[in-house]
């Protein structure tokens, strides 16, 4: 379960204070599929970064499975990211010097898994997203949709409970976007919590729960 309490993030731009998140209180149960919508600049990415332990709140807390992440060290946060959370970014964010297989195996490398096992698992994940024939392609040799599927395979590498996607379909055409949503839906059916930010109303409609954001606040 994910829970935020008075979650607030303030950015200081020169003299001005920007409330990217303003006293956000929300609960996401295990196995839920949540779509977060809202205008640009409303704080969606900031919220995902907090939930995903990429960034620390200015005040308030994020509880993941009952643990207040505000009190964790950088190393412990890295561990949570590695074990519980899989990220899918809008820009795919693959390491461009590594091929598809190596990109998917990278989180397992940081988890300290042996090479053979790692490669075996990475291969499995790539096959599950339909890229079994693209194992040794570099990101630059793949289409946007294919890169995003590699990114999903990478997010799945550690078998995380939570999948977080910040506009994962923002950079691909509608057909590919739907395919990616199908994939995320499939992951949710497997029992994983899926949280996505999207601008696309159709995609948002497929999620079980929708949260609307505005000026750093969440309205259901």
């Amino acid at each position: 379960m994910i829970r935020t309490e008075h979650l607030t993030k303030i950015y200081r731009m020169g003299g001005a204070e920007v409330y990217a998140l303003h006293d956000v209180n929300l609960e996401i149960q295990d196995g839920e599929f949540v779509a977060i919508v809202g205008p640009s600049g409303s704080g969606k990415s900031t919220l995902l970064n907090m939930i995903g332990c990429l960034d620390k709140p200015t005040s308030g807390s994020v509880f993941i499975d009952g643990v207040d992440t505000a009190w964790l060290s950088d190393n412990e946060l890295a561990e949570i990211r590695r074990e519980k959370i899989g990220f899918v970014f809008q820009q795919y964010n693959l390491v461009h010097t590594l091929n598809a297989l190596e990109n998917v195996a990278l989180p397992l490398f940081f988890a300290g898994m042996k090479r053979e096992m790692r490669m075996e698992m990475a291969k499995e994940k790539l096959e599950s997203v339909g890229l079994g024939d693209r194992l040794y392609h570099k990101p630059s040799e793949l289409s946007g949709g294919q890169q995003q599927r590699v990114a999903i395979a990478r997010a799945l590498a550690n078998d995380p409970e939570i999948i977080i996607g910040d506009e994962p379909t923002g950079n691909v055409d509608t057909t590919t976007g739907n395919a990616i949503m199908d994939m995320l839906e499939g992951l949710n059916k497997e029992g994983r919590t899926v949280i996505v930010v999207t601008h696309n109303i159709e995609i948002a409609a497929r999620a079980g729960i929708r949260k609307r954001m505005r000026d750093g606040r969440v309205r259901d």
Partner: protein
């Protein structure tokens, strides 16, 4: 571990041109150290090697040597020579005299240093190692004959001098009976510009009865230092002075040469160290640029679970690989360079020597390279490791 290498290698290859330049920067620094050290060792070994063959010799001069300066305080007497001969452990004593005097050949006059001594001893000291180009060496009764150094024969006068030519030394006619070969470094200053006579002839032309130089050969090299001290005491007593004579064993000369060379090496290495500092700035710069460029990639790695120390070790590994390669390339270049320098220096200085490649120098070179790599890679690596995972999602 293997994968870390792979990862590091990939990003090094990604920035190929810059990596090659960085490798070259380190390689130049290491090559400078390795080659200069090797050439230095080569010179030292060739000179000390030659000197070691005279380890049983003690040179005695009538004056004080302090550092590189020599202050002559007079000359030896025949009694000094006889007393030295009587010291136990002394095998041979060669008394020599020398002085500059005017020498004339085919109407041209110029001052030349003339040496005289016991012909047998003088011969064993100079003729054996240097060799004669023409003619023969002096005998005890060759009062009107001389043997000349190579430069005297070829450089000093309009025409080259050969055996049977006549020289006028301080007004007296001498016949040239032998010409030395061009001498190696160690002997060049002793032999090439000089004229050698019998002791009696030298005393005659220099109009002196003074002995300016005594060469002593001992039976046991281990006693050389003690005998040298005794020689000094004996001669000082004769002259009623505390510090009149200086007796130098080859051992002490070798020590002095050793000191000179370690100072020389120190100077050379500090010059090379400057090259290394430049190289290390190069690595730091390359790594910093790499960190900047990869801000996003580092963020991604952290977002998918890399800890700070994973990132730190990855970047340190990168700079270590670059510097290790630089070190190895530097050693290879250094060895080649050392060979070239020693060949060039051999012909330029007339010293016969080859570079001496010591394993310790090569290992040291590589160790220094890695140390430079790790030290100058540390700051950028730490900077990288402290980056926040949010960098992965910034600038969308």
């Amino acid at each position: 571990m293997r994968d870390k290498f792979l990862l590091a290698y990939r990003s090094i290859r990604e920035r190929r041109t810059r990596s090659i330049l960085t490798v070259l920067g380190i390689a130049v620094g290491i090559a400078a150290i390795v080659s200069l050290m090797s050439v230095g060792y080569g010179m030292e070994e060739s000179i000390t090697g030659e000197l070691t063959t005279f380890a049983d010799l003690i040179s005695v001069v009538p004056g004080k040597i302090s550092g590189a300066t020599y202050v002559e305080q007079g000359s030896f007497t025949d009694r000094d020579v006889k007393d030295v001969q009587r010291i136990s452990g002394v095998k041979d004593v060669l008394a020599m005299t020398y002085g500059a005097t005017v020498v004339e050949y085919k109407e041209k006059k110029r001052p030349i240093m003339v040496f005289g001594g016991d012909t047998k001893e003088l011969g064993s000291f100079y003729v054996e190692p240097v060799g004669l180009k023409e003619g023969r060496w002096l005998r005890e009764n060759d009062y009107k004959a001389c043997v000349i150094g190579n430069r005297v024969a070829t450089d000093f006068f309009h025409k080259e001098i050969h055996v049977n030519d006549k020289l006028i030394i301080n007004g007296e006619k001498f016949i040239v009976i032998g010409v030395f070969e061009k001498a190696s470094t160690l002997y060049a200053t002793d032999v090439d510009p000089h004229i050698f006579l019998t002791l009696r002839a030298a005393k005659g032309v220099l109009q002196t009865d003074e002995v300016k130089y005594i060469m002593v050969r001992v039976y046991d090299i281990n006693e050389a230092a003690a005998i040298a001290e005794q020689i000094e005491e004996t001669i000082n007593d004769n002259h009623g002075l505390d510090e009149f004579a200086s007796a130098l064993t080859m051992g002490s000369m070798l020590e002095q040469i050793g000191t000179v060379f370690s100072i020389l090496r120190g100077v050379l290495v500090s010059i090379a160290a400057i090259a290394l500092v430049v190289a290390s700035i190069g690595i730091m710069n390359t790594m910093l640029m790499s960190v900047m460029e990869r801000t996003h990639e580092i963020g991604v790695m952290k977002a998918i679970g890399a800890k700070s120390r994973d990132v730190l070790s990855l970047f340190l590994l990168e700079s270590s690989i670059v510097s290790l390669v630089g070190g190895v390339v530097g050693c290879v270049l250094g060895v080649i360079l050392a060979r070239i320098i020693s060949i060039a220096a051999s012909s330029a200085l007339g010293i016969e020597f080859g570079a001496v490649i010591k394993p310790a120098v090569l290992i040291g070179g590589i160790a220094i390279a890695i140390a430079v790599g790790v030290l100058s890679g540390f700051y950028p690596a730490r900077k990288a490791s402290r980056m926040s995972p949010v960098e992965a999602v910034r600038y969308e």
